[in-house]
């Protein structure tokens, strides 16, 4: 029976591997930029400037209440009419970063709210500058409090990234589309790739947990 042969897996191993590299690369870049923007966004939501707070919450609401695929299409198909032409991979990274930062801003903000005000006051009593207090005292405690939620959000973003195959970024799903188009083993191909995604999401959880323990100290799940 054709469906039980495994030769096609061997033949498509290289394509699948390059798809995995692209998917992992996309999420790695997104985690770095998205993480930084989330912290910046959460800090801006506590700004003294009312317009700054309003702008950030407007951005967060707009992104969280629209589908990622629409954001992706808007960036890739819509922005060129404003004269901003992006290559598909750059558009994918931009859309993923914009998307994850909105969720991340909310998560980091909850973490900042959870840090006792006494911590900030203690920092001020020691004569530290505001920026130093935020980066060295408040932020690490805030991130510790919400780290599991941040990890879950990054895993969700990695799974959502399957959609970037629709703008012809050669990620894992795109490679699966190509493979099934010439083997005609659609179900088997997608089943295999789904299993790879499952493995990647378990792996990403482990790696981020490890990174969290290294950066923020032990005791982080």
């Amino acid at each position: 029976m054709a469906g039980l042969e495994v030769g096609w897996i061997v033949d498509s191993a290289a394509a699948l591997a390059s798809g995995v590299v692209m998917t992992v690369g996309l999420i790695a870049v997104t985690i770095v930029f998205g993480g930084l923007l989330s912290v910046a966004g959460a800090a801006a939501r506590r700004s003294r400037l009312a317009w700054c707070r309003a702008a950030v919450s407007g951005y967060v609401e707009l992104i969280r209440n629209t589908p990622f695929i629409v954001q992706l299409f808007f960036v890739f198909f819509g922005l060129p009419s404003l004269g901003l032409h992006l290559n598909a991979t750059v558009a994918a990274i931009l859309a993923m970063t914009i998307n994850v930062s909105a969720y991340g801003t909310e998560i980091v903000r909850a973490g900042l709210d959870a840090v006792a005000p006494g911590q900030r006051e203690a920092g001020r009593a020691l004569g530290l500058r505001t920026l130093i207090i935020f980066v060295c005292i408040v932020l690490p405690q805030a991130l510790r409090a919400v780290f599991p939620a941040l990890v879950s959000q990054m895993v969700i973003t990695m799974l959502d990234s399957a959609v970037v195959s629709q703008i012809a970024v050669r990620d894992l799903t795109y490679e699966a589309d190509l493979i099934q188009a010439h083997t005609f083993l659609s179900f088997q191909t997608y089943a295999l790739v789904t299993a790879i995604y499952l493995g990647l999401s378990i792996l990403l959880r482990r790696v981020l947990g490890l990174a969290g323990r290294v950066m923020l100290g032990p005791g982080i799940s």
Partner: protein, 214 residues
């Protein structure tokens, strides 16, 4: 043929009916299976519990897009002539059931164990303990996260455009191909999704606040 902005908007709003319909269908069917999944997930039998955990992990750990592909290409293998709406409905139902089952489990486990004991002391069997004592209390705290998930579900329906279901996004792709105005079309689409989702988000947040105070 010329399309005015109003032509575009009117056609998009007509297509939004399918997005709302699919969301409701996915919610009702996914909710029913989710309820079943919840009872299995908290059942006294360990193999049953593990089965439910596996099901939930499987659907929460893989992309929804791939799940839709598997339904779309899998059903013909068992001899079912699959239409896009069937694959879209079934795929979203399975996906939503995993999330709703897990959300509701959290709500059930937030109810103190003494409530189970009290129900048992009244001589109720386990299904009745759950139905008459635990679920009514859990339902109160379940409203906010359930409405919150409904927002996820509405957004998830956009993916069914990829397997050819003519909801809002699929229609906008067609309109975009005819008008070559991607900025307007996808901007308007984003706005329509926002108008569906934002009230739900607000409602969910308000309920959450009321429960915290009360």
């Amino acid at each position: 043929m010329e399309f005015t902005f109003w032509d575009i908007l009117r056609n998009l709003l007509l297509a939004a009916r399918w997005t709302i319909g699919l969301s409701l269908a996915g919610f009702l069917c996914g909710g029913s299976i989710g309820l079943l999944l919840l009872t299995v997930r908290i059942s006294p039998s360990k193999p049953l519990r593990l089965g439910a955990v596996f099901y939930i992990e499987l659907f929460q750990g893989t992309p929804l897009l791939l799940q839709l592909f598997l339904v779309f290409f899998g059903l013909p293998l068992i001899g079912i002539d699959v239409q896009p709406w069937m694959a879209a409905g079934l795929g979203l139902t399975l996906w939503a059931s995993a999330y709703l089952g897990e959300i509701w489990r959290g709500c059930v486990e937030a109810i103190p164990l003494s409530q189970w004991d009290a129900a048992a002391a009244l001589g109720l069997h386990r299904p009745y303990q759950l139905r008459l004592v635990i679920l009514p209390q859990a339902a109160r705290i379940a409203v906010a996260p359930t409405v919150g998930f409904l927002v996820q579900l509405v957004k998830a329906t956009a993916l069914t455009s990829i397997i050819g279901f003519s909801e809002l996004l699929k229609t906008s792709n067609v309109i975009n191909n005819a008008t070559f105005e991607p900025f307007t079309v996808y901007g308007a689409v984003a706005l329509i999704y926002f108008m569906i989702c934002f009230p739900l988000t607000r409602y969910s947040r308000r309920i959450e606040r009321i429960l915290k105070v009360g």
